[in-house]
Each structure stands twice: as structure tokens, then as C-alpha cells.
Symmetry: C2
Subunit: 404 residues, 2 copies
């Protein structure tokens, strides 16, 4: 079920952005059929992997899809994939890909077979040269605004944030073009590049205009927030917490919870500051932090949690992935967005559904990923209408493969 | 124009996620009307600001919208906002908000006035307690997987990546619910939380399942890629570059461009490695980097660019925001996604459009942000149908305000 349960999307993809787009649609009910080369694409063994060399990355990004494997090195295998992409059906003819839009995947070739095709093509740079999350992030300015105060060295973050934003934009492009097709009957080729997503976002967030207006770059600030009071503190039991006081109310709850109120006027006088003002709290942030640190150092995480939650402070503990998994109700089965699901080839994993909650549709439960080629015969039969004998011949010819 | 030029969306918002959702729709042609309290919301002076205290952050996130200002502290002002949210029109009745869905903004109250309302509500935690990008990121595990090798301290990245992913998910939720309404006539309340977005994404990317399967956390790796060869190098002229060799082809182009081929067999023997394998290149990455570093240290960025682009190496320079603005064609007017636009109150800024490129629709050119309240009278007249005399009375009563 889910809001897109009437749609069928064919995905030709590898790595993060395009597979995440397909995942997002699959988790909202669409029938997403990912095709791969027999033996898997470039991302099929991408780390992290299990001891049996099964990729946790691949399975994470392909949940809820159907998988079909073709011999894409031979024309006859590419013809089968072409037939899948351009298969008839009012709610089909949706193709999401980050393969080069050229050769057998050229828009003109596919559109000749299905004129109303909606084709979303994810590329690296706007001129279609190669770029990946890492190179785009390096160019974006973000890496040189991340890391310790005073650092002139870039810091890469562990999250492929531009891949994520690009994959979600690809979904928006797909939905926009599908909407246009329903209204007009027209398909179209939609292009989205990692670099455009990254650099337009850096502009939307004010980083670029700040550079243009001030001729200066926002420096790295360690774990401090920019322009408001917020930073990390160590706890008595060796943990760290992130504390944020953007609004006046957030500031007041923090002051109350930590009991520092009586000492603030002296700091305000020393800095000529008025701590009712967000910018003055930012300006005097090191002094404020110095005043607060002993309180954190003398309380455990549990004590801080109790004090802060009572006052409604905006804060959170730093957690490792194992702590997130073991200690946080938000990724437990208390949260219906997660469930324990048996992942073929791996075992039971805490598995997410879509984070979108639609009351008008039955939710799509968390789903496992397929094994590579698990749905080869099923898709050949129910989408391409092939008989068991025809499917058998394709296997005999090595043009298709099922799951091992 | 643009694919959503038939839609009108009302936005009640502050900070990043919900405003970014509205921005994304406005940049694709929707009539997005953001309402604020007279004098502006909590984000109206958010840093970075100009010397005149105009927020570059606010203007960046509200481009292409119409702005209307109400006295939201008084019931009559809230009634005007209510009328705007629930105004008739087949393509209206779309509301995007990160204000608490309670009191005058409770779904039940608004839905009684417009039963087919599509209401997308962005919250912090799934139980609607407070969370912001910083606290969610701290909990996600990413901060403890970012930073130098061997570090046990969290590193916050400068990009509000979870806000971005949440704002884009909010758009997907809006489009899904609008599609459902066109098919069935039914509206609905869609909820999306920052925490669900972050933690489902950490699960989708394999970080969480790696922790579950191995009972261990991915450690911070400095600027190294995980599971493949990729890292930063210093250049002769004091710059740094990011180099990525995930695929075999990318590896071979890097080897050719740097001329290290003859020395690789010795390293392969020393490590028992086969550099045709992605995982072996990762395992021996420090030795490979040591071999490559002298080449980078003896070439300038321009020399590296020439050598790498000739071979098709996957790489990119690290840039500050000013370097991105000044040196990179991808944010210049050579890229139609950017243009120089006069931003009222600020001046001419390099301004982005949507990164999505739809050939079937005339593109939406890069647009400026409004001044706060710039469209108050226009919206009162054309959406709420008020006369000039009625609008004048609202101004006299201080219930609405225009731009100063």
C-alpha cells in the first residue's frame, strides 16, 4: 500500500543518490524494479559488508524493491532492459537512472519506444562530467567550514549529504514529471546534478551570499553553532552532550536547569552584552560555556537528562551507532517507523520504513531488500509477459539470472 | 512557470526544514505564501546578517515566496491566518508548517474549515518533543564517525544535512498527499520528524546495520573514504584536493595520471594485496597515499587539473565559499541554474534556481526573496478577497503589516 502503490518505476543505478530515490518511492508503496548486470553493479559489494561479503550498504539502499539481473554486456540483454524500461501501462514508463544518458540509454532511443516516458537522470556535474559526493563536498566550501576553531584543513563529514539531497530531489523531479504527464500526456527527460544540488543548497543556506557580501568565509567553529549559543559539553561519566539555545525560551530553560542565573549579569557587564539577545549570547559564547562546563562535568548523562527534560531544554547526547541502536527509543520497535525484519543473506536487522506518516494510507511496513535477481522470473512474466518456456531459454542463453 | 505553477501553498515556518520545503516548491513555480508575525518570526534575524542586520539566511530560504505579516498574538490576527490556510480553490488548501500542530493550528480545527486540507507538519521527534538538526545529528552516530583517525570526540559538520533531508521529504509528503487528494478528494495530515528522517537514513546507508551485525562502530577516518581508495592531498601551491578511486577505471586513471604504476607491484606484494580489488586498495590506502603524496606536493592545482582532466580522474579541489563563488563555473552565469539577482535590502547576489531541469516546462528563473510583509495587501486582496477599505482597517487595527 502507500501513496504511490499505483506506480511502477524502473531503476538503473548504483551507489547512493539514484538508489535512495528508488528506495524512497518503494517505501511509499511504488513497485520499484531495479535492474543490474548479472553478478551485480559497481555497488554490489560496497562496504560495509558482512563476514560473508554481503553488502549492508547495498541491502540498505534497495529495500522494498524487486531485483532483476540481465547480461548488459550483450545487445540482447540490453534489449530486455529496454523492454522493461519502456513497458506499457498508464502508471509505468517511469525510469530513474544514474547511468550515462547515452548509447542504449539515450533519451531519444527510449522515447522512440515510449514517447510518454518520464526519465529522471542523475548526473555528477551539470555538463555531465564525473563528480561524486566527496568531490562536490570538497568544492562546496562546507569542508573548510567544518572542524576545529583556527583550522585551515578541510574536514570531510561521514554523511553523504549531497547524495541524499540529490536522491530526494530526483524523487521530486519524478513526481513533478508524472503529475505533468497525467495532466497532459507528455513525458520528459528530467536532469539533476549532484553539483547543482550542492551549490544551490549552499546558496540557499546563506553560505554563498555571506561570502559575496562580506568577501570572507565562515570559519570552522568546532562544535559551536553559528550565530547563536549552542555547543557540546563533557559529562561526569565520560559522555558528551549537544546543547542548543537559539530562542530566548531555550536559553532561559538552559539557565534554569543549570542554575547559573546569578552569575550571568557579571558576564553580561564584562562583554557589554544583553543575554536576552541571540547575537550577544553568541558573542560571549566562550565565557558562557566556561560558566556552564563545571555543571556538566559534575553531572552524569542520566542526571542531565532528568534536569533538562524537566525544564524542556533543547539538547541531546552524542551517541555512537551502537548506542543509537541499543539505547534510543526512536530506533526501537516503540517507534512504528522501525521494525525487526529478516534480511535474506544477513539475518534480522532493525529496519526502517519511510519517515513520512500518512494517515489516509495504510503505512508501508519496513521491508527487506531483495537478493540480486530474486525477481527475475517474476518480472519477466508479469511485466514483459514472457512464458515459462521463453524465460527458460533466456536463462539457458545466460541473458538473465535469478538469485543464487 | 514551472511544474507546480498551478499550486498555492501556505507556509507557517521558521529556520531551515519547512522554509526549505516551501522554497523548493516556489522554485518549481508554486505560489508559496509564507505568513509571519509582524516584525518577523524567530528566524528573521538569523545569522549571517549584513551590516544593516538583514538576514542572508532568511532571504536565502524564502526566495520566490510571497510574504504576509499578521499580528499572531491576537485572535483576530490568527483568524486571518486561518482564513489564508483554509482559503478555497481546487489547487489551494496546501499547508506546510513546523509550528506546533495544536491550538489554533490543530489539524481538527483547520480541517473543520476545509475538510480536504493537505497539511504537512514538520516536527522534531516522533513524539513531537523538541529536536533540532544539531541534537539529532549528535544522536545519529555521524558526529562520532567524523574527524581525525583515532579521535573519540564528536565533530559537528557545518551543513544542516538533516534539515535539508527533512525539508525535501516534506515536499515529497506534500506532493503525495496532493496526488491522493486529486484522485479521491480527501485531504490528510502528514507528519514528518527530523529524528525519523535522520535515523531512517543512517539505517538506509548501512551505518546502523553495520553496528548491529558487527557490534562495532565505524571509526572516524579523517578525510579517507570508507571501503575504497579516496582521500585528500596537499598541492605544491598550498591547496588541497580530494581524489576518489572507487571503480577500477577510476583507479587506473589515477595511476596513469600520477605515473606511479611501476611502484605498485612492490606495495601489492608487501600487503598481499591485489589493487584490481576495491577492498585491497582500501586496506593498503596509507601506503598508496604515501606513494602518491610526492606527486601532489610537486604539482600546482592547475597542473593537477590539467593532468587529471586529461585522464578523466575523479577528483576536485577543496574550495572556500569565496573560491566557489569566484573560481567555479558551476556557480557562475555559465550555469543557467544561477543568475545575478537584485535582492531587496541586500543588493545583487549570485542566486540559484531549482537544481531540477525540466525541458517540458519553461524553467523558473532564479528569484529574489520578498521583504517581510511585501505581499500583505496583495494576498489579502487576491486570496482573501478583501476590499481596499477592509485592508486599510486591518492596517489601522495593527492586525497586518506591509514591508517597511
Amino acid at each position: 500500500m502507500g501513496p504511490f502503490s499505483d506506480l511502477r518505476v524502473v531503476e538503473g543505478s548504483a551507489f547512493v543518490a539514484a538508489p535512495l530515490g528508488g528506495l524512497t518511492l518503494a517505501q511509499l508503496g511504488a513497485d520499484v524494479i531495479r535492474f543490474d548486470a548479472i553478478g551485480g553493479g559497481l555497488d554490489y559489494r560496497r562496504w560495509p559488508v558482512t563476514d560473508d561479503d554481503v553488502s549492508l550498504y547495498w541491502s540498505g539502499l534497495n529495500k522494498g524493491k524487486r531485483s532483476i539481473a540481465f547480461d548488459l554486456s550483450r545487445p540482447a540483454g540490453r534489449e530486455l532492459a529496454t523492454a522493461l524500461i519502456t513497458a506499457p501501462g498508464e502508471q509505468a514508463g517511469l525510469f530513474l537512472s544514474n547511468f550515462p544518458e547515452a548509447g542504449w540509454l539515450a533519451d531519444a532511443r527510449l522515447r522512440a519506444l515510449r514517447p510518454d516516458l518520464v526519465y529522471v537522470n542523475v548526473v555528477g556535474n551539470p555538463d555531465e562530467t564525473t563528480a561524486v559526493d566527496y568531490t562536490v563536498n570538497a568544492a562546496s566550501g562546507i569542508a573548510l567550514a567544518t572542524g576545529p576553531v583556527g583550522s585551515a584543513f578541510p574536514v570531510n563529514h561521514a554523511l553523504p549529504a549531497w547524495d541524499i539531497a540529490t536522491g530526494l530531489h530526483a524523487v521530486i523531479g519524478m513526481l513533478a514529471a508524472e503529475r505533468h504527464r497525467r495532466a497532459t500526456g507528455e513525458g520528459q527527460l528530467v536532469k539533476i546534478s549532484l553539483a547543482d544540488v550542492a551549490f544551490t543548497m549552499v546558496a540557499n543556506l546563506g553560505f554563498l551570499s555571506q561570502a559575496q557580501v562580506t568577501h570572507a568565509n565562515r570559519p570552522p567553529l568546532g562544535n559551536d553553532m553559528y550565530g547563536a549559543f549552542g555547543r557540546d559539553f563533557p559529562t561526569r561519566d565520560g559522555r558528551r552532550v549537544m546543547v542548543v539555545a537559539i530562542s530566548l525560551n531555550q536559553w532561559q530553560t538552559l539557565v534554569r536547569a543549570t542554575g547559573v542565573e546569578e552569575h550571568l549579569p557579571a558576564i553580561e557587564r564584562a562583554f557589554g552584552a544583553d543575554f536576552a539577545k541571540e547575537e550577544d549570547r553568541y558573542r560571549a559564547r566562550d565565557a558562557i560555556a566556561a560558566l556552564l562546563t563545571p555543571w556538566f562535568e559534575s553531572h552524569t548523562l542520566d542526571e542531565i537528562r532528568t534536569a533538562f527534560d524537566e525544564q524542556g531544554v533543547c539538547w541531546g547526547p552524542y551517541q555512537t551507532f551502537t548506542q543509537l541502536l541499543d539505547d534510543d527509543w526512536r530506533v526501537s520497535e516503540k517507534n512504528p517507523v522501525f521494525a525487526d525484519v529478516d534480511q535474506p543473506g544477513i539475518g534480522v536487522l532493525r529496519t526502517p520504513a519511510s519517515p513520512l506518516r500518512f494517515p489516509a494510507d495504510p503505512p508501508v511496513a519496513p521491508l527487506a531488500a531483495p537478493l540480486l535477481g530474486m525477481h527475475t522470473d517474476e518480472v519477466l512474466a508479469d511485466v514483459l509477459g514472457l512464458s515459462a518456456a521463453e524465460i527458460g531459454r533466456l536463462h539457458d542463453d545466460g541473458l538473465v539470472a535469478g538469485a543464487v
